[in-house]
Symmetry: C2
Subunit: 367 residues, 2 copies
Amino acid sequence: MTHIRLTPLAESLPANVPFVGPEAQERASGRPFKARLGANENIFGPSPRAIAAMAETEMWKYGDSESVELRAALAELHGIRPENIIVGEGIDGLLGYLVRLLVGEGDAVVTSEGAYPTFNYHVAGFGGVLHKVPYRDDHEDPAALFAKAAEVDAKIVYLANPDNPMGTWYESTVLERALDDLPQGSLLLLDEAYLECAPEGTAPELSADDPRVIRMRTFSKAYGLAGARIGYAIAAPELITAFHKVRNHFGLNRAAQAGALAAVQDQDHLRHVQSEIAAARGRITEIAAENGLSALPSAANFVAIDCGQDGAFAKAVLEALVARGIFVRMPFAAPQNRCIRVSCGRPEDLDHFAAALPEALAEARGA
Amino acid sequence: MTHIRLTPLAESLPANVPFVGPEAQERASGRPFKARLGANENIFGPSPRAIAAMAETEMWKYGDSESVELRAALAELHGIRPENIIVGEGIDGLLGYLVRLLVGEGDAVVTSEGAYPTFNYHVAGFGGVLHKVPYRDDHEDPAALFAKAAEVDAKIVYLANPDNPMGTWYESTVLERALDDLPQGSLLLLDEAYLECAPEGTAPELSADDPRVIRMRTFSKAYGLAGARIGYAIAAPELITAFHKVRNHFGLNRAAQAGALAAVQDQDHLRHVQSEIAAARGRITEIAAENGLSALPSAANFVAIDCGQDGAFAKAVLEALVARGIFVRMPFAAPQNRCIRVSCGRPEDLDHFAAALPEALAEARGA
């Protein structure tokens, strides 16, 4: 007998990773990327006040296990109560906690074919059973998601608005109406990681106490703090309190807490970043058009470019871009995988992309 | 029916916290602590090179999911292979992953009565059944732990060396010999959080490939980076690989990775801290003696002071110290709870403690 006896569930899981990171790709190729446009990071960076706050943090101290100051600032920003907010180690960390709380072995969960793989990773990791519905016109499809949830008695229904990887989105009223069909017994997990990149009127107007929904937000995207690993969820206090049963109470980096607080308090910088993102979306759309391709309208900090053929062709384009030092990614599932996904970047980053794309397309067409 | 359907296990768990943090205590009292000597943090602080490395980190980028540079530096430091190392969100985070991998509902786990409560929190959180053995002469008792593990068929046996909260320790040879009695089917989880504070010859000399043991280390103690939340485990590659099944692959703060790397590369600073810790242990021991109390010999960055009476008396001393702005903690279980636990501090911190202790003792004796 071995000393290492994994649970049957752990034994059954693959030792895989939802994404291969850009550093890992650079190590594999032996060359740094010229333009890092694949992970939907925010190259425009965080607020200088956040950078200063992180640098001033006394790192010999553990963080505040209750994130009281940050939760107070977020509550004020959103006009809700701190009891409606849990701060965690990025949305990825919060997804893990939520799935652990609700999903036991064999429990059903619903998401879209090709939606966020880290959510799927957590569901599989706790033994849940994933049911997937297709996108509809490159949008996640609330009606189909909720119908499937009713059919399989899902504990959680995942929906991202704006969507990743397509960048498509729904106006608030569409989701508000759709919620009427959310089955009893199913919780809507509304991933709003990209919300700050979207037009006004994208976030459904719901009470923070609405027991039907948990919303997740992050400092990794518009706030430019991906490396800090900090995000938060908004939900009814009953559900927020449940996180205290399983979360790593002292798991948050103290500088991340201070940086996030400073970022919330610098909404001017957020507006600056929003305008940079909008400009970059426009430039990516232009680059696509210059190459005879169409870009999908996006409310996120990236743009999906339709390469005009199938997934194999888009993959060839992506690989030719990566070979030229341009880090981009692409959707996993057909027909969305006819696209490549290009994160917003500074003009110089997008110039690299613009220079490489014609060659990449030529190479893919010749392949 | 509600939309929020917790698993039966989650439903059964309390929404508690293993420790109340000092910030939470300060909020409750309305006053900041004069001396923060309760969480075994390292007031002497991290390497200036770690501080600089964190400040220079581009926080808009996600961290490296594989922590390749840090694992390479740690492998060199310890003379082992990167395949023997997993980096995680502090020992607390790694404990959670390890328990999740090995402990299913009803599985047995063994620890000592009064040992690290966050480990117990994780075991309970995954439905494990804790079996506890008493300390022996204020030391954790390997023979009793391993005998209990055999009796209950434990998946994991927890042992800290040096011990927290008592500061006691075993020389390497004692644990090496004791391991002969570790039962097949049980993994020894050796928590070495305080190892860098201990004398040479404390760490058992074991192959990193030894399948019987996983060792956990942290940057929160001697390295002074508690706020960064980063630690690592050393084990056979078979077990290290299993962490990839469940861990949050992009969960590490990028600055924490850079800071930890710089800290490893500044062993001079570590030696400086070690001498400060030794001096502070001496000073705490003197303060105890000046008050007619005895301090236990410690190989950690704290000292347990025997208050000479029972747990209720030590608790009264602790509360009187806290009321005077001195944050300290105490063991949970008898007879160790006759002590208070005082973290090493700078001379000025310990002066505050020295000033408050006679009053606290008088108050406790009068109570």
